[in-house]
Symmetry: D2
Subunit: 356 residues, 4 copies
């Protein structure tokens, strides 16, 4: 039940702060015999890596992962896999302001209220850099579910949604926004650019689709696939909402509209729709598992916001320094990683109880 661990059978723990020497993850319970070396993890870290375009933070981190245990001669051994990523661009700067003043929307005040003090350098443990460790862990999880294909993308940025009819997954890599709609990507360039120049920030919605999930993963009642996805996604920095399938929109449909009719198929039922997002009663149905995740706008903005100091004095805060104008963008690889981790865990859980 530790606080920095996630998962039931395939369980991982992350550690590390933004400005400490390193951060990492320990992945426990991974099946033995899977091909694993750094090259299988690195591409996912590269996708999340900062400083790749002007639309993300300018912190430069190579984010090179090292495997410290759990693999031998290129294969997983079944023992814990320790992954480490060294911090290299911990820009030495004066943190006195951030140390003494609470940045609104950040965890500064909450950490102090809880722990009495905090590692204030770059947000410490609450920094989005922690997600690098999850992305590394997620790359291991993918090895457990080779039959599943997971793709996430930004489907809405600053309130501007993609055209669902224009979704082309091969576009995702062609723009700096993980956007599957080329036209929307164009519009977002202007949006993010303006936010960046104004020192403002934008929110985003990330959608994630997992195909190839067989029917039967998940479990009643508190281990529903939906519940674990919700927990995993809501644990990502800046996330404030999670939907499965139609989510909140389903609450506006009638029972007839929301019904996913079935008809006999080759291989289990064929469904006429997927309002449910691939689960029923918390268990996968064989349809694509679909979730959407809402990222709030980055809390770090140049506009001064009234706040208080540690001593309880009034103080306006203006967050200088490097930051993402829209944290949702780099959230895409993190959402994918969490989906992989949940599904891999449930594959093993299902095998434990039901075999096969």
């Amino acid at each position: 039940m530790s606080w920095n661990s996630f998962g039931r059978v395939l369980r991982f723990t992350t550690w590390g702060e933004s400005h400490g020497p390193a951060l990492g993850a320990v992945v426990d319970g991974c099946p033995p015999g899977l091909d694993l070396d750094e090259q299988q993890i690195q591409p996912f870290l590269d996708a999340r890596r900062p400083g790749q375009s002007k639309y993300t933070t300018q912190r430069k981190e190579p984010d090179r992962v090292k495997i410290l245990s759990g693999a031998f001669e290129g294969r997983t051994t079944g023992t814990p896999i320790s992954l480490m990523i060294e911090n290299t661009d911990q820009r030495s700067k004066d943190y006195s302001e951030i140390a003494q003043t609470y940045r609104p929307g950040h965890a500064d005040y909450a950490y102090d209220a809880k722990y009495g003090f905090r590692d204030y350098r770059g947000g410490g443990r609450s920094s989005a850099r922690e997600t690098a460790a999850r992305v590394a862990a997620g790359a291991v999880a993918r090895l457990v579910i080779p039959e599943v294909s997971i793709t996430a993308y930004v489907c809405e940025l600053g309130g501007d949604a993609i055209d669902r009819d224009a979704i082309n997954l091969s576009e995702i890599g062609n723009n700096p926004f993980f956007c599957p709609d080329a036209w929307a990507a164009k519009r977002w360039e202007a949006l993010v650019d303006e936010a960046r120049k104004n020192g403002s920030s934008l929110g985003a919605v990330v959608e994630c689709v997992a195909t190839g999930v067989r029917a039967g993963w998940g479990a009643p009642i508190y281990a529903k696939l939906d519940a674990d996805i919700a927990a995993g996604m809501m644990g990502i920095n800046a996330v404030k909402g999670v939907e499965i399938g139609d989510g909140f929109a389903a609450a506006r449909l009638s029972g007839e509209e929301n019904a996913d009719a079935m008809r006999p198929g080759e291989d289990g039922p064929e469904f006429a729709a997927n309002h449910a997002g691939g689960t029923a009663g918390g268990i996968s149905t064989g349809q694509p598992v679909v979730c959407r995740v809402a990222f709030k706008p980055t809390s770090s903005i140049l506009t001064p916001v009234p706040s208080i100091t540690r001593d309880g004095e009034a103080a306006d805060v203006r967050t200088k320094g490097r930051h993402d104008p829209c944290v949702g963008i780099r959230g895409v690889p993190v959402v994918e990683a969490m989906m992989a981790l949940v599904l891999a865990d449930h594959k093993l859980l299902h095998r434990a109880q039901c075999g096969g």
Copy 2:
């Protein structure tokens, strides 16, 4: 990590099927010395109880709770509290149709795909009757957090939202919809009545507000208060979405709009707004903790929906029998219970690590 348990320090397990002899919950880790007898649990079960108006299922269940352990001379002892609710209105009927045919939107097919067979009577373990056990457990959790006040209500039904300026919490008990807006409640009567008459169903959104939560509960990274709330709520039957604070709407705000400015207060900061819903970095800030939960429309409808039989043959399904035209309504006490369970657990967790 069991599948039917929830919580970390205050941990509960539920058991039972819709048409078995009983259902119940075991609550473990409850502090000793709290006043507890059946009378403190029963009102919450009564609020959830079916058959109280024509807008909910006509199943008649007294839902009388019995405390089988963990209390002595009217006080909790610190040992596990076993709560049992006997099923009495297990109407004897012919289940042959439901046994052989998968009801779309229900867990029938998924359970069979997972377990190879299922207790089909009334949905078995996937029946919303299970939530009675959580409501009972939630009543115990409330004893752990007497300083916290938790109120949930339906804020949208069938796509018709309440007027936020008209919210009057004292109205919640005056209508069969747990609606805090008297005018909306009037409109919903017609809406639900029509759905009921047509054998259709409606979705709903439930909002839950917890006041009195001190700053400092919650924890990084995977035990964020937000993550546990999301997991708890998403584990409720028919729930497809969860938001904290502004949730998905926050993704459409700019950083300036979304900032919750602080100024010095008597007792910690005073906040100018609560877009964040009472948490930062997964830890409570002292503001009200606010979440919203989307319930899909009841899957049981009278309109025939194409489906398949266990043998893979095509078959139209029309769900006769007793059902809620809008399961979101009776979800209100369940949402409150899950909020109480999460907060009570985090109060104890915080005390474990940080004292106080």
Copy 3:
């Protein structure tokens, strides 16, 4: 991580006090499709049942188990199995003495020190009656490992050990001591009779052997089969020691003496000895899994022992009433149950990670 639960994938929770209305267990994670009805559980409860000879407590309890959930048409469904045993012989008596005075060797003082007060009736939660719930859970666990045969017996009573050359497992049921050596059983009659008449009590050592455990169950490091067996056994009332294989005697052997030589066999290695007790590195080797469990003498004795009252006054305690002169005897079915629960759990755990 709840305090009254045990197991990782096959996880059970027990609840109940000696003099409450009932006690029970919830078994979660059981594979679906196993034949289960009360008749499969009852024989194990009958073996543990008190009042069957003059050598055990005279409390009369039918210990009838009821299955409240998790089985349908005689088979497990994969959902939690709720088992309940009603208390019937809660002899109404005056507990004022035990309520005010701490019985040495009992948990009275420790419970008060922890919880501030306690359910003093018959020991409350710390009563050995709780083990009835484990025995019921253990009967379910046995269904998960039909290929494994588990037999426990008393191998030493009041310091008088069985003759290992005289072990005959078919003798176990022929005497009231679960003793596999007919001559020792004879001697023990006199021993226990004398202790009973003197109001004294005796300790015992229970040995448990599980055959049919395939190589490969268990896991590094903190989930070693040995570690889980140790935890399970040490959680039984009155147990003060646990050994795997030669245990403490192994500490007196040389490396040569302790080596379990192997030679090629039909089906994996054949071992020349089993000093290790069936595990290496915490993982089963295919040899019989062997443990020994030390039960202290029953703390309830008629000889007055100096003690204190709740108010801190000196008071001699003489425990009247019904009690087992040697709790180790009725510990035999409990040890078997815990072994079954650990092995069944590890079978499923192994399947989760390694398949097959």
Copy 4:
């Protein structure tokens, strides 16, 4: 429930293999604000360090610990503490023999049976080097319980026990055996020397005493202090038995002999004896918590033992290379560490449920 984690609230996970680049531990749930730097951990690692006398393995490892996260300005922050120890003396040698042949008593065969293959270099994950990570974690745990004093020592080696009347804790550091009896230490020199020269090995019993544990830590039923100590100790390499208090000897006492009489004291009861080893009903009584741990003789010996190869062929095994003639000796700091980890965890658990 991960396999390489231990603890409930203060939970740690270890990772690493004997011949990988490093090994380490992540300690989660540690209270904030405790003074922590490498200097507080290093002495415990130094005590466990190999190569310090001719009576332990000649592998030379500086075992320098690095704190990678969870501390800031010399204090714990409440976030996970990542500890890493680099392996430096991974002697490059030919492992072809050990790779192909199973060493009796080692985990070689069991690992292969479980995982299908293994990291055979130096025992991989099953190497006693893993215990360095626990010792580091234990040093952190000690910070949580400054009021508790934990001392372990070898009380029996090769069957030769110390004289209990000659115990002098200040002698422990004066000999290479952690022996509190100077005369016994003298005798053991000859014993171990002979074993070492003959390529044989010896077992040992380690006793651990924790004073300053207040009454009330621990919990029913499966989280008994005794059960967690048993699990923790039995998870140490080469351990085959655990006792609390008198342990197996208690099974040979009468109820009168085993009774720990109480009389009124200044500060709770004073006890006339401590047969129970400081617990009752799984909860501490305020007496010293005492356990004894049996270590088998090192399995690596020079005498050839019949075994088999991976291909199932017969092969005699003679374990060359560096090894401890008695692993129990270096087990002393590991036993202390596990005791600290269990007690610290239960202190926090107690605070969670009962405050104070």
